[in-house]
Symmetry: C2
């Protein structure tokens, strides 16, 4: 693969290369890349705005994350935030800080993934900023979406008696990360002790594709938002699960001023997650409760919508909203309740 | 001053501390910080979106840039992009990547400057993201504004015969940066050779306040946009001068498919800029033509609006739009024309 240094084409050249094939597809995208600002038209709709910062060494490790997947995931995590408002993502801006380690071809690969996600989710890339960076890759994405005033789901709308639902299954993305981290250690160790490259231990990921895909190429739950819309169900509260179920549930309950009771055996766990957790000597429920990055949705709906909801695929009812004085509890299979404590990711804690 | 490590309060604690005193003042700001996305309402208006990435060591040097000024400037450069569309900034999101070098108090100081700019310009802080960073400070800001469909000024609307205008004066911010860089070198050299701190050479910036303020605490030209609005003047094209007059003029002309002729002696230069350029042995016109970061506006208006425009303060007519075949030229006082070449800042060039 050829390597073109970015300084040979400069900032404007880079932006041109990355944006020349962009076509706007949304009615609300009036003008995209190329001026001081993008111009959008959201007449009669509410505008949703979310932003995420992804830094090399903190949020991703390029030792095992392919740049195309990184581009894809960078877009998805932002779409997920818009869906979690019961909205639809429509535009995206991307800012990149790029160190000398990266070539034009590297950045093109990142954009390929980003653009693929935009295409699949019907989102227009409308702007951004690009600069050099002294160290590593820095990615900042802002996503703009639309929603109807009466249908936006905030975090603070959960009411006592509502049922608590989650989509898909939980914990797989976390185990995918553990797998990648473990193989990285094994690989580094083999490089140190082997005489030549052919002796390096190559990772064997067969049978673990699901866990790896959940970590490296997550999807946002557009399908759920569309299905709820078709059935005219508006969640009373909603959040996407990026930091872990426990952390997100506590966010909803704190902001809604309610308590919650969830049932341990209702938390959806994929069989691959179950099996891998055992291999790692971990408790699968703990993994599903605290593992982040699944980008599933956690939401509450009022009881009258329960019947309709219970027939929907990929949605699992895991508990109910209670009075704030009950706190937040998880009922174990033996009938005992334990308090739910957030153990989500803390980006500021000292790495172990 | 006390120093609180950020990890003692965590990401959510940090966000809470920085955002607890935020009050939304714009009608278009429905819900701000605290959910998966901010909610805005832009019925009957166009939405403008711009984003900027500012990285330590590339865009700013904390050796001489106070954090409060950095916060202020980070907001201003984004407001400037919205004004350059003939719009009004209304909301802002800020994402920070923070290395261990920074304490809670440091980040509070940064936010003080950011919030001051928001307050003075009537902009609501509605969201963001915060994480640790392995190296240095990483700032990503997205600004959202409003504009009327028929009054937005793009870069591609300049027409042959239009007059070319700039606001304020140019080159001062660039010289402010040179001054700071020079004093940094002197200071570093004195630290190396002196035995104790009292012997360090302290910078003498008296009489250079204007240049330093233009670099450290720039303003965006809201006043000009309001004045133009009152007189019902809509620029046929507009851009803000962040990379230098030459670079921005070439952007407008390339995107509008026109040429230009500007007059060297019409380019507005402050007397302090003139004096300092001489001291540095630089040509003041070159500084005004290529120096960036003044955040003035460059725009074109049609001839019928010329009379009204010529009476307005802080706006200087510097030339006219010509046919594309004439290229882009600057007429010297002796009547000779020279070709305008962009020498704006290239963030990817190898630092000297």
């Amino acid at each position: 693969m050829s390597r073109t240094e970015i300084e040979t084409i400069g900032e404007f050249g880079l932006i041109r290369r990355m944006t020349e094939d962009i076509e706007l597809t949304n009615e609300s995208s009036v003008v995209g890349v190329g001026d001081d600002a993008a111009v959008l038209n959201y007449a009669e709709k509410q505008v949703l705005v979310t932003t995420d910062l992804l830094l090399e060494g903190i949020h991703f490790d390029l030792t095992y994350v392919p740049l195309k997947h990184l581009g894809y995931k960078s877009a998805i995590v932002n779409f997920s935030d818009i869906y979690a408002m019961n909205g639809r993502p429509k535009q995206l801006t991307v800012s990149l800080g790029i160190s000398k380690r990266f070539s034009l071809e590297n950045i093109e690969t990142f954009y390929e993934g980003l653009k693929l996600a935009c295409e699949l989710y019907g989102v227009d890339l409308v702007g951004g900023d690009t600069s050099s960076s002294l160290t590593g890759l820095c990615i900042s994405i802002t996503c703009i979406g639309e929603g109807e005033t009466e249908k936006i789901s905030y975090r603070n709308g959960a009411k006592e008696g509502d049922v608590i639902c989650v989509t898909g299954d939980l914990g797989a993305a976390y185990l995918g990360l553990q797998l990648l981290e473990r193989e990285k250690l094994v690989f580094n160790a083999s490089v140190k002790t082997s005489v030549n490259a052919s002796q390096h231990v190559q990772p064997d990921f067969s049978g673990k594709e699901y866990l790896l895909e959940r970590q490296l190429k997550p999807e946002a739950r557009r399908d759920i938002i569309m299905a709820l819309g078709e059935k005219n169900i508006v969640p009373s509260s909603m959040i996407d699960i990026s930091d872990g179920l426990s952390s997100e549930l506590l966010h909803i309950c704190a902001q809604s001023n309610v308590g919650s009771l969830i049932y341990m055996d209702k938390i959806p766990v994929h069989s691959d997650t179950q099996r891998m957790a055992e291999q790692f000597g971990m408790d699968a429920t703990t993994v599903a409760l605290h593992g982040g990055e699944d980008y599933e949705l956690l939401f509450t709906v009022s009881v009258p919508q329960y019947a309709e909801l219970s027939t929907m695929k990929e949605i699992k009812i895991i508990g109910r909203v209670e009075h704030a004085s009950s706190g937040n509890r998880m009922r174990m299979p033996d009938g005992e309740d334990i308090e739910i404590v957030a153990q989500g990711w803390n980006g500021f804690a000292t790495p172990a």
